[in-house]
Symmetry: C2
Subunit: 233 residues, 2 copies
DNA sequence: GCTGTTTTTATGTGCATACATAAAAACCTT
DNA sequence: AAGGTTTTTATGTATGCACATAAAAACAGC
């Protein structure tokens, strides 16, 4: 066996992936330690470390101090979805983006929304409904609740020409968020706005973002029937 | 201003994130270079590099050689979904997993499936339909096409007791794949198996995996109505 | 045998240094 | 001024070394 040399971490990574895919290292197997691999590959341990760390991030390796590195028994595929501003998303498809605000009001939300904002019982929130269009056709329906405080520095903003989706992403700091994907049947109102038959299956994204412990905004995006989001593994 | 010291890359990362969130560094801003930050933070440039690289991976920073590092103008949220074996997914919810094979045959697929396998025009593929149940209730319907060659080493396998989902993930090497999420209306057959009303909105995952240039398998997973996948941002 | 303690060991990380590389900026040349 | 070439510079990465840390394994005491 010709002990080949792999000088940079990318080629070490490639070789490690090759061995995993070729089942030279099978799921559950303990692989040689960093020092040994470094010697075999003719590079520094740091380089091996960098490569193994990258592979571990993708979910194909499990690493634990002292216990060593082993090929994941349950290879968890990590699909990374890029969630961009909707305008950008549409434009990247080569389509013309337009935006239409449907409604904007300050009202006291129902108990469910209220609960997730942990706000005082009957304090009102901003509620925006808007439509995102691609080449004139409905692309996504945005239904959003916003903590009024986040608009304190932009008192005039009514999201008539710029979407809350875009404005918030650019102007509002947040520390963490949660996102969920599901399928829903369009209600009559929703179907009318999306110009699709009632009860159509619509792809749905629910997102909530917080700044520290304060809920900033909560949004439901209903995409026109047929919408699909894709990514590589 | 007390020039604080940040000795490890995690605290440098935290500080960088703080500055971005606090809008001390605004979207589009060019931030100081690594060497300057290293001096400010009282650590080595490698440490700053590690921290900035991590933040850049999350999409909040754009880095280019010579051009420097800037806060992303269009902060792209990267949502990483963990796609595990369905059995594990169910068990992790604390539910009892059961599996039922619905059908298994070797037939020549329609043109669409055929095309994605790039196989000879009329060569037959394996077609498996199976149901995954959680606590006895339908959880997901799996509709899968498999290249017969991948079963060459397991001639007896008919996916009667172990799902193709699990068997393939454990036994079949693959180099890359594609995954897509969408919403679909359940057909009559599908609804019957999932025990839901016809035309219910069902969350759908389509996945294709390749080994080098050969298509290994293609699967469509229809989840019972109400299914939602979630992740943190 | 069963505890709790110590040792060992593989990964995790920090640092100084060196060089690689991409791309902006400066400098020519015509 | 336009176009091509060189320089500069910020990031990217490899290396040897040191030490930190978590956890398995060995050991001790009872």
């Amino acid at each position: 066996m010709t002990t080949q040399t792999f000088r940079d971490w990318q080629s070490v990574q490639t070789e490690v992936l090759r061995r995993i895919h070729a089942r030279e290292w099978k799921p559950g197997d303990l692989i040689p330690n960093e020092a040994d691999l470094a010697q075999e590959f003719g590079c520094a341990r740091t380089t091996v470390n960098r490569a193994l760390r990258a592979v571990a991030e993708s979910g194909l390796l499990d690493r634990r101090r002292k216990a060593g590195t082993r090929v994941a028994a349950q290879p968890i595929a990590k699909a990374t979805m890029n969630i961009a501003v909707i305008r950008t998303e549409v434009e990247d498809r080569g389509q013309t983006y337009t935006y239409r605000r449907v409604s904007f009001e300050k009202i006291v939300p129902d108990a469910i929304i209220q609960g997730s904002f942990k706000t005082g019982d009957a304090s009102p929130l901003l509620h925006v409904v808007a439509l995102h269009l691609a080449d004139g056709a409905p692309y996504a329906l945005e239904d959003r609740w916003i903590d009024p405080n986040v608009l304190a520095n932009a008192p005039g903003e009514g999201f008539e020409t710029i979407s809350a989706n875009e404005w918030l992403l650019k102007n509002t700091p947040y520390t963490h968020g949660q996102i969920g994907f599901s399928a829903r049947s369009a209600t009559g109102d929703q179907a009318a706005l999306l110009q699709c038959p009632e009860a159509s299956a619509v792809f749905t994204i629910d997102r909530t973002t917080w700044d520290q412990d304060k809920t900033v905004t909560q949004v439901r995006l209903l995409f026109a029937p047929g919408h699909k989001i894709q990514t590589q593994l």
